[in-house]
Symmetry: C2
Subunit: 194 residues, 2 copies
């Protein structure tokens, strides 16, 4: 990649970050392209130089986040760990993502209210992929007898729902660190499976 391309990519990355951050703060509909630009001391016009429109910017941002989370999850999947520890780790990683990225995206807005066509398909696909991985973790645990038999689908919804919802109530002012919090939530949720 040429220097120029690197610079452009860096700028795009900054803009994506800014977008995610402002959206996490104010919600998708309340954040304007000017907000996103202002945060970087730019003007709207510049943002449009890098991104076709708001939808594309948000799509790319969201996609990247999902892909990164997916990759982390895959890494956990690949580890040599007993089922319980593996699922536990996956949950902790997820919680940390939810809290640090504050991506209200999993709950705030339904994807079909923001994306269309290809973009919508891709986002749904990535989400399903993620969800499937979690399912696999539960499945494995049930097969090797680490977990009790449960309705995988429902339990998965419960687990992801409980975790994603933290965006709404988490506050850095709380007495627990993110790590502690992630761990205790993971422990509580694991009790459903033990």
């Amino acid at each position: 990649m040429s220097l120029r391309e690197k610079k452009v990519e860096k700028k795009k990355e900054e803009i994506r970050k800014s977008a995610m951050s402002v959206i996490a703060e104010k919600g998708y509909h309340a954040t304007t392209m000017e907000d996103i630009a202002a945060k970087l001391l730019m003007t709207k016009g510049s943002v449009y130089y890098y991104f076709k429109d708001k939808e594309s910017l948000v799509y790319e941002s969201h996609k990247l986040l999902l892909e990164q989370s997916m990759e982390q999850l895959q890494n956990v999947l690949a580890e040599e760990l007993p089922s319980v520890a593996k699922l536990r780790k996956a949950m902790v990683v997820h919680m940390e993502n939810v809290i640090t990225e504050r991506t209200d995206f999993f709950i705030g807005v339904k994807p079909d209210q923001v994306f269309e066509g290809e973009h919508l398909q891709e986002i749904l696909h990535l989400r399903n992929q993620y969800s499937d991985c979690m399912n696999r973790l539960i499945q494995q645990g049930m097969e090797d007898g680490s977990f009790v038999q449960v309705d995988m689908k429902i339990v998965n919804y419960i687990i992801l729902g409980a975790m994603n919802n933290a965006v709404i109530w988490y506050s850095p002012k709380g007495s627990k660190s993110i790590e502690e919090l992630a761990n205790s939530i993971a422990d509580y949720l694991l009790k459903i499976l033990l």
Copy 2:
């Protein structure tokens, strides 16, 4: 109440219902006053005859729903039941509300992105009240030894989060009836406390 007042109240009720229904369908920001009116074969002008503005309409609708849920919860609280059965019933009732009203209990938007001032305060107050009631149920169970000791606040967030999230994924096409679904979710969540 005079005949006319009854008629007005009935109309307002219809409009609130329509608003909640369209919002559940398309999301708060995507639903226009015309959508809400059209569903009742009215024009938006009429809606404005009954409600000052969109915010007020949604506020009143949402408030009523919260109050109704609160009342149901209070009724459960008042019943003579062992802790486990009581919390279980509260959860089932909540789930049924979430699914039938399809208002994620909360519009899918954080309240401070919709309401302001007094209205916002009142909505937050009602939510807290509701949450406190759930807390009380957990507290009681821990005190009488029915539940293990847990961090009440976190567990409460988990429980409400997991349940509210059902708005996102519930589909009437699923094989389980609402009642079955509510029951199995309640059972899974109770395992956290047993």
